[in-house]
């Protein structure tokens, strides 16, 4: 029997048959997986309160030789993030993070940095950190880890290196910034202050602990938010279901 134990974030739960649950979970070492927890709706011992939505759980599961579905043996709750259940806006933000992760990381694609990002973001929501800031920190880093990072090094039209001085304009079709000579600011091409560019660039490439220490003004958050909204929707090709409940 090829069993494996790893910390996992419960992403989705679906009732399956009489007493089973179909679980989608995100692990650090094997990415997003699906598994069946036999008798989980009745068992008070093997899965004691650990298969609830967005919980961090230590899961013991059997690796399947073929097919997508794994067999879940047992689980132990690590953290239920009670703050996430305290209000609708917290649940909406956590749902948005999970939905974006699902799109960026298909089944079986592992990325330890993405797992840490999701876990740390849940801890931050639980602690009641500012949601607008958490959203942009997550979006920017997740998109970069998923291969859709914004290019801040040069103008995406003329190729001139961006020196970090003066305003820049975001160009969603190119996934990068342009200089003011090449692109005028508009609703679909919002402008960014040089400090905002620097901040967004740092979020994209830094670890959570480094980003947590940064200070962002309300104006910077507003600029980054509008850029990331355009960027995510353009790259994903649609608006996420849970995004409707964020604003």
């Amino acid at each position: 029997m090829n069993t494996h134990i790893s910390p996992a974030i419960i992403m989705r739960i679906k009732e399956f048959g009489e007493s089973d649950l179909l679980i989608t979970f995100f692990t650090s070492d094997r990415g997003r997986l699906k598994g069946v927890a036999k008798g989980a709706r009745r068992s008070k011992r093997r899965f004691a309160n650990c298969l609830d939505l967005f919980c961090l759980t230590s899961l013991e599961y059997e690796l399947k030789r073929k097919g997508d579905l794994h067999f879940l043996h047992s689980g132990k709750l690590i953290d239920a993030f009670p703050g996430l259940r305290s209000d609708f806006s917290s649940l909406s933000l956590a749902s948005y993070m999970v939905e974006l992760t699902e799109i960026l990381f298909p089944l079986g694609v592992a990325d330890n940095k993405m797992f840490e990002l999701l876990k740390n973001s849940f801890f931050a929501i639980d602690k009641g950190k500012k949601k607008d800031l958490l959203r942009i920190q997550f979006e920017a880093r997740a998109m970069a880890l998923g291969g859709y990072g914004i290019d801040f090094d040069k103008c995406c039209s003329c190729g001139r290196t961006y020196t970090g001085e003066g305003r820049a304009v975001f160009k969603r079709s190119k996934g990068g910034i342009a200089c003011l000579k090449c692109q005028q600011e508009s609703k679909l091409s919002p402008g960014l202050d040089h400090d905002t560019v620097k901040g967004l660039k740092t979020i994209q490439s830094s670890l959570w602990s480094e980003v947590e220490a940064l200070n962002f003004s309300d104006e910077m958050i507003r600029e980054i938010k509008s850029v990331l909204k355009l960027h995510v929707e353009y790259r994903i090709g649609r608006r996420l279901k849970s995004a409707e409940y964020l604003d």
């Binding site: 009732e15 009489e18 008070k44 309160n49 996430l84 649940l91 409940y245």
Partner: protein, 203 residues
């Protein structure tokens, strides 16, 4: 083309559309129907049509009924002034079976779930708010399940109701160790709840 005659294949396909029923179970069920007498098939078909045509939501509490109002809303012996809010008809039935609660119910028909695109406007929240004034409600018991989504729904309703009526008593069903449970197998969060909600036996 399947291995069975077309009409039997059709029945198997219809059964597989039910939740939790796979191909094997559906085949077993279809073969059972085939082997049984005609009355069983006729009774099932009649019940299926009847349930779709007659069952609707109670105009007051949104429980399932085949009349304008459900039997609980029609029952004059039940206590007015207390409404117990539940997620679905199954939860209401479970509470009724306990025989403890003698007030009125309100069925939300779901919980807040942004991941599935379910927001407050998709639940029977507006109707609950209008019942508070209309029926002179003094207490609302929030009996949504203690899951992430159920807890969030309870918090959301508690905020909304307290803003609407400052004098309204809003309570939440207790959480903790279940009857016949074993502390060794309890998770940290359940034990935390159980200790926080402990009751005084004697002083």
């Amino acid at each position: 083309m399947g291995i069975y005659p077309t009409s039997l294949e059709n029945l198997i396909e219809q059964f597989t559309r039910l939740p939790g029923i796979g191909q094997k179970s559906a085949t077993r069920m279809a073969l059972f129907v085939l082997r049984s007498n005609k009355e069983l098939a006729e009774g099932m078909a009649k019940s299926l049509i009847e349930v779709k045509e007659k069952i609707r939501f109670c105009s007051i509490c949104f429980n399932l009924t085949d009349d304008e109002c459900c039997s609980i809303c029609r029952d004059e012996s039940r206590a007015d002034g207390t409404i117990c809010v539940v997620e679905g008809p199954g939860d209401q039935l479970a509470l009724e079976e306990s025989g403890t609660f003698k007030g009125r119910y309100h069925v939300l028909h779901g919980v807040l779930s942004p991941l599935d695109g379910i927001g407050p406007e998709d639940l029977k929240v507006g109707a609950l708010l209008s019942r508070i004034d209309r029926e002179g409600v003094r207490e609302v018991i929030l009996a949504t399940n203690p899951t992430t989504e159920g807890e969030t729904t309870a918090s959301f309703l508690a905020n909304l109701l307290s803003q609407k009526n400052k004098d309204l008593k809003i309570t939440r069903i207790a959480l903790g160790v279940p009857m016949g449970g074993d502390l060794k197998y309890m998770d940290r969060m359940t034990l935390e709840h159980a200790l926080r909600s402990r009751i005084l036996i004697c002083s």
